[in-house]
């Protein structure tokens, strides 16, 4: 089976998964207690407004018609309307995607850059001080809760030592003081992102915006990436130790190949398969917005928006965000499966 056919089949499967998610989301709203229109609007809504929403959202129709309308709207790319924020849900989701991707990718990059070399060193110097250090690090990393690490970083670096994260034209007093955050609170506008930073370099050769972004993203990325780093370190270590015992490694040593090539080109390559699986799943989770980290650092991603939506029971917005997260999960899983065939030629796309 060719790669194209494989992707087609997996996409088809993905469509069914998404359909399931859509149905569950619809069902949850349908069975949750209370009048949907009141839920969408909040307690203080006027009778007239409630009537209007009932009419516009088709809430007076039979449930199957509502379901059909909901699916039809989604197929047309219409995630609904947030009556609470008085905005289209698509716009509210889309505007938060870049920040979420930035944070997820930054955390993943940190994890990969630190964890894989650390795991390799740990495995090749087994039972030596370097290995004990790495093992201790991964134990601490896995057992440290995200919110605590984030708060401690803010407290220690930002408040106690005042590490210069401020001097940001885009930040509020609060974030100047603590050296965190991303949003200009008075205006609610988001600071320059990674892409804008790159564009600034191209446009007028200024690195300022990118550096600003980098300063903002560092602490949240470390917070989010620590667990991830620890996890990948462990996986790399145990995978490498398994692989090193195999006959082909001895054969490769017998060729006189330099150690770097044995470790990274041969052994690590075969260790990557389980690592890529976990990387993929974790990326999927991160795409959903790292709710806690985004809240601690006031990072304007999907996670923060989801929390906001939950706290005011903004049903259409919640549904939209969850649906997007599910979609990302499906897409990333297809990519991971396609990567297997590249990493391990024995895994054919069948």
């Amino acid at each position: 089976m060719s790669m194209g056919k494989f992707l087609f089949r997996r996409t088809l499967q993905g469509v069914f998964v998404i359909w399931g998610v859509v149905t569950a989301l619809f069902g949850m709203r349908a069975v949750s207690p209370g009048d949907p229109a009141t839920l969408m609007l909040g307690q203080g809504a006027t009778r007239n407004l409630i009537e209007r929403v009932r009419e516009e959202e088709g809430l007076n129709e039979p449930i199957y018609v509502q379901y059909f309308d909901y699916v039809t709207d989604l197929l047309q790319g219409d995630l609904g309307y947030s009556w609470r924020s008085e905005r289209e849900v698509e716009a509210m989701v889309i505007e938060r995607i870049p920040a979420t991707i930035e944070l997820a990718v930054a955390a993943t990059v940190i994890a990969i850059l630190i964890a894989i070399p650390l795991g390799v060193i740990s495995a090749t110097r087994r039972d030596q001080p370097a290995d004990y250090g790495a093992t201790l690090f991964s134990l601490l990393g896995i057992s440290t809760p995200n919110f605590w690490l984030g708060l401690m970083l803010v407290l220690v670096l930002g408040v106690w030592y005042g590490i210069p994260y401020p001097s940001l034209g885009i930040s509020s007093d609060l974030s100047v003081r603590f050296g965190i955050g991303f949003i200009d609170l008075p205006t609610g506008r988001r600071g320059a992102g990674f892409v804008e930073g790159l564009m600034a370099i191209v446009r007028d050769g200024s690195f300022d915006e990118l550096l600003t972004w980098l300063r903002h993203v560092t602490l949240p990325a470390i917070t989010l990436g620590t667990y991830f780093t620890a996890l990948i370190t462990r996986l790399t270590r145990s995978g490498m130790i398994d692989e090193i015992g195999k006959a082909y490694v001895t054969a490769t040593e017998a060729k006189g190949l330099p150690g770097v090539l044995i470790r990274y080109k041969h052994v690590l390559r075969n260790t990557m398969i389980p690592i890529v699986t976990v990387l993929g799943l974790q990326m999927g989770t991160l795409m959903g917005g790292a709710v806690i980290t985004e809240t601690v650092f006031n990072w304007p991603g999907l996670g923060l928006r989801l929390i906001d939506a939950l706290s005011i029971r903004d049903w259409p917005l919640m549904q939209g965000i969850i649906l997007f997260v599910a979609l990302m999960f499906v897409v990333i899983n297809i990519v991971v499966d396609a990567l297997y065939t590249y990493l391990d030629p024995r895994v054919s796309v069948e």
Binding site: A254, G256, V260, K265
Partner: protein, 406 residues
């Protein structure tokens, strides 16, 4: 032209396991001559592979070479290390165990290379066969590209992590070059792989076992080694394929004049391939000599036992005679100081309770056996009673159990 190329003396390799010290190889002596095929034969666990891995310096923790010398004749190398490690040099011979690890590693591929028992697991499953052979080519190309030294280099080939990272974007920094790949195709052609240019891009799982074993031979030949160590090269293959692989080895040996150390448990392979043979038992070479010495004039009852257990197509009908008993334990505290074969030996005598030295036997001047029968005949009057060792083993067993209870 009998010139020694490899001289192993008093080699001992031990494995320090949780159960205790395992004496995988004990005080092993043997010499290999340039251009010959030297066979090492023995049962599983007799120390054949450990001997081979010792020469390649591939013994990994918990194993360790504890004693002895592995001397390799290489005048260039001798000259190169004479100043820094005079104790390692003896004429043109260099003791590999007394030179630095880096120098020892630099001999892999160009001086010694090795083919392994199971080709399917000895290739990396996720790289193409051509790439892996080309790597072996590159190791040698880069080593000899250094004008200061040819085979006398004492540094292994270097390739840094930064080069590896850069090579993902810069093809010029890659370890394997186009020239290396071309050579890999030639090598595959040399070992008789049909359509080598296309085969080079295939992965190990796309090869059959016999093809892959040929590819491994090609890989081992990439560095034009002085000594090729073949560790059970045909064991994992179908019988019909075995013969082909042996033929290829034989032809290449005749063409290039390289030395082969052939390790096998199959006496048929020995008879077909070898000039001289060492028979191993419990980590020792118990008898060595020319093919004629071992097959016609063998002295050691173990050698005789091995020969007696080969089926013979000419005399169908009779039962094969297995060697009674099992391979002895190699745990240090269970080994004792006697002829290790005495408990299984049909001709064990009282003398066998002492450790026999190497004794020259009738035949060629190389014919040596670790057996008292080499200098005096079997005397039934001095034979050990049949149950002599049974009591001993029972006693040891109890001792072991008591120790475990502690």
């Amino acid at each position: 032209m009998s010139e020694e190329i490899l001289r192993i003396s008093d080699l001992s390799a031990r494995f320090f396991t949780n159960e205790g010290q395992v004496n995988a190889v004990s005080n092993l002596d043997l010499t290999v001559e340039r251009g010959e095929v030297f066979g090492i034969v023995g049962e599983s666990g007799s120390g054949k592979s450990v001997t081979a891995l010792s020469i390649m310096d591939l013994i990994d923790s918990p194993g360790e070479i504890t004693d002895g010398r592995i001397e390799y004749r290489n005048a260039d190398l001798a000259e190169a290390v004479a100043d820094t490690h005079p104790e390692a040099v003896d004429g043109e011979f260099v003791d590999l165990l007394s030179i630095p690890e880096d120098a020892r590693k630099s001999l892999r591929g160009s001086s010694f290379s090795m083919i392994f028992q199971d080709p399917m697991s000895s290739f990396n499953p996720s790289l193409t066969v051509g790439e892996q052979i080309a790597e072996a080519v590159e190791v040698q190309r880069r080593a000899t590209a250094n004008p200061r030294s040819t085979k006398a280099r004492t540094k292994s080939v270097e390739y840094s992590l930064s080069s590896l990272v850069l090579s993902t974007v810069l093809p010029s920094r890659r370890f394997v070059t186009e020239a290396g790949r071309k050579r890999a195709v030639e090598l595959l052609d040399m070992v008789g792989i049909p359509d080598p240019a296309q085969r080079t891009d295939e992965y190990p799982h796309e090869y059959s076992g016999g093809m892959l074993q040929r590819a491994m031979i090609a890989q081992a030949l990439a560095g034009e080694p002085d000594v090729l160590i073949a560790d059970e090269p045909t064991t994992a293959l179908d019988v019909t394929i075995q013969a082909q692989v042996l033929d290829i080895l034989r032809d290449l040996q005749e063409e290039t004049g390289m030395t082969i150390v052939l390790i096998t448990h199959n006496l048929g392979v020995i008879a077909r391939m070898c000039d001289r043979v060492g028979v191993m038992y419990a980590g020792e070479v118990v008898e060595r000599g020319t093919l004629g010495d071992i097959f016609q004039r063998q002295v050691h009852p173990y050698t005789a036992g091995l020969l007696g257990s080969i089926p013979d197509i000419e005399s169908v009908g009779g039962r094969l005679e297995p060697i009674e008993g099992n391979v002895p334990s190699l745990l240090d505290h269970e080994m004792g100081d006697r002829c290790y074969f005495a408990d299984r030996c049909p001709k064990a005598m009282e003398e066998c309770l002492d450790k026999p030295p190497d004794i020259s036997a009738e035949g060629s001047e190389d014919h040596v056996a670790k057996c008292v029968l080499a200098d005096h005949p079997y005397d039934p009057a001095r034979a050990l009673p049949d149950d002599h060792f049974e009591e001993l083993t029972v006693g040891q067993g109890t001792a072991g159990e008591v120790a475990d209870d502690d």
